[in-house]
């Protein structure tokens, strides 16, 4: 039994090492000077742990500041839109009986199966013909119009809200819009939290959509800015490392702060 227990911990520590080692070496590299990086191995700790020059370079020359700004703008608009679209559609589908209900549900369901990268060939033409190319609206529109899993999360949640609440509000003279806005949406807060977390992380990490539709440097988001580090900083791994860490840091903070929600959210999102 003791051997089994030791093996168990050994395997866990091994997994921990495999996960952390590739990241930790970047932490070591990010604090090194250029000469220091060139003359030391990946496991050598930096001489000066307070050398933040590389972070400054990544932030200013690498355009990370602008990138975080662009990503934030897109996140705020797209998340607000996703919440409204998902909850409205879920409310309509759950609380009303109408002729094409099954068709509508089917349309949303099928859309989650389409891997968006396969249809980019045609999506590109849609974006350009709507003149959204090289604007932040291209990413926002695509986040709102593809893989709308938020409707499932809201629907599951709205199904659990007793209809008596709607009916009570209706007797008090509320129309359907105020039932949606004052009864359903406020009660959906946990579902909103789930959507914000899983969609927020997905949007923050999205690379190909901004890469393809927003090539303008002023519109670069976090992913595309980091991608561009590959060119000018080709072999300057100390700067690239700093950039990578800057990108990971917000994710780490959000994860540490919201662990419980994140586990539950991704479980709900994947199993739909």
């Amino acid at each position: 039994m003791r051997v089994a227990s030791a093996a168990r911990y050994l395997s866990l520590v091994g997994a921990g090492l495999v996960v952390l080692l590739p990241i930790v070496v970047l932490v070591l590299a990010a604090f090194k000077t250029r000469d220091e990086y060139a003359s030391t191995g990946p496991f050598t700790p930096p001489r000066d742990w307070f050398n933040v020059d590389n972070f400054a370079t990544a932030f200013t020359d690498g355009g990370m500041l602008r990138a975080f700004l662009n990503t934030s703008i897109i996140l705020v608009v797209a998340l607000t839109g996703t919440i409204l679209i998902g909850s409205m559609a879920a409310y309509a589908v759950d609380r009303f009986e109408f002729r094409f209900r099954r068709t509508v549900v089917g349309l949303f369901l099928f859309a989650t199966l389409v891997p968006s990268v396969t249809t980019q060939v045609a999506t590109f033409k849609v974006i350009t013909s709507l003149e959204l190319f090289n604007t932040r609206w291209s990413a926002i529109a695509l986040f709102l119009g593809t893989d709308i899993i938020s409707i499932y999360i809201f629907r599951q949640f709205i199904q659990g809200i007793p209809r008596e609440l709607d009916e009570a509000a209706e007797i008090d003279g509320a129309n359907s819009l105020s039932i949606y806005w004052r009864v359903i949406l406020p009660l959906c807060k946990p579902a909103i939290a789930t959507v914000v977390i899983i969609k927020g992380i997905t949007m923050y990490n999205e690379f190909y959509i901004p890469f393809l539709y927003m090539p303008d440097r002023d519109l670069a988001v976090v992913s595309t800015s980091l991608f561009r580090f590959k060119g000018p900083y080709g072999a300057q791994w100390e700067v690239i490392s700093a950039g990578v860490l800057l990108v990971i840091l917000p994710t780490l903070i959000v994860f540490l702060a919201l662990q419980r929600f994140i586990y539950n959210g991704f479980t709900a999102g994947a199993t739909k």
């Binding site: 395997s11 997994a15 009986e97 199966l113 396969t118 060939v121 629907r155 199904q159």
Partner: protein
């Protein structure tokens, strides 16, 4: 996935309950009929324009020889599909998917193992859970950079091998056609293991605790508990993971595209499709490839629905 449609009686209930006077009822019902559509107007508009128009359009483009620029598209029938079927090198990239499929098997087995041991009492349980899951949240470009550094000559991997005296194993991890796909598939395991793991962990924890106690009283070993209690209990989630793994392996894109751009035989079907469209300006052929992939993925999903019927998999 979708919950079964409700019974009709629910729909009429609020109508009969509404105390509107007879003259106003006509207007009331008309508004009532229109209401759900008003809510669906914006969501459906986005869905149709950005998902369904592209899907229909790749179908149409795939029957043309369009270059993506010309104002007119020449109809060529099924020529593009014939080309895909008769040029072996166009389908050969699916071989790359096999590496990722193999990696998914490793990934699911590892996820099952870690989910099982972490569902029992273990010290630092939450810490290990967090460490194993975290990579799934990390930005894909950051992951690509992390592993470019990891695999580069003299990088993390080579230095580790050197530290344990295995430096003879060092090679061009990303530059050698013989190893590049293993390296990239390994990166993919590092990235996606966490999702499988958390899904399994959630499912295992929803198995009632008394069952384990009963099993222990009957003298069941840990292996027996896993084999006869845990595995059947989480079957739907394992089924779902297998399907996600298959469709994921078919549509691998981001990591190899950023890390190697498909060089050294690491191209995947999606990389090839994107290259044909945006690099070689063969929209027609690229669209046909996209259709092939879409059909394959829908087929896999359909098989899943058949094999694993709509069992309730919501175990969170």
């Amino acid at each position: 996935m979708a919950s079964p449609p409700r019974t009709e009686d629910r729909a009429t209930a609020p109508m009969t309950a509404s105390p509107t006077a007879p003259p106003r009822r006509r207007r009331g019902t008309l508004l009532r009929t229109a209401t759900p559509y008003l809510y669906l107007l914006v969501p459906l508009a986005f869905l149709v324009v950005f998902t369904y128009v592209p899907v229909v359009n790749i179908g149409w483009y795939s029957l043309t020889s369009w270059d993506g620029l010309a104002p007119t598209k020449t109809f060529v029938g099924f020529d593009n599909y014939v080309e895909i079927a008769t040029r072996p090198e166009l389908l050969a990239v699916f071989r790359t998917s096999l590496y990722y499929l193999g990696a998914s098997v490793v990934q699911i087995v590892l996820a099952l193992y870690f989910a099982t041991i972490l569902s029992f009492d273990v010290r630092f349980r939450n810490l290990f859970k967090g460490i194993i899951f975290f990579p799934y949240l990390v930005n894909g470009v950051a992951i690509a950079m992390i592993f470019l550094y990891f695999f580069q000559p003299g990088g993390t991997l080579d230095s580790t091998l050197q530290a344990v005296g295995l430096e003879d194993l060092s090679r061009q991890w990303l530059g050698d056609a013989g190893t590049v796909n293993y390296s990239l598939a390994g990166t993919s395991v590092w990235r996606f293991l966490g999702l499988n793991f958390v899904l399994f962990l959630g499912a295992i924890q929803s198995i009632p605790g008394q069952l384990y106690e009963a099993a222990e009283l009957d003298g069941a070993t840990r292996w027996h508990q896993f084999r006869y209690l845990i595995l059947p209990g989480i079957r739907p989630v394992v089924g779902l993971s297998v399907i996600l793994a298959i469709s994921g392996s078919l549509s691998v894109f981001e990591i190899p595209w950023i890390m190697t751009a498909g060089a050294n035989e690491s191209a995947t079907f999606v990389i090839q499709t994107v290259d044909f469209a945006f690099k070689f300006r063969k929209y027609g052929l690229a669209s046909a490839m996209a259709v092939v992939l879409l059909v394959l993925i829908l087929l896999v999903t359909w098989v899943q629905r058949r094999v694993v019927p709509d069992e309730k998999v919501d175990l969170s």
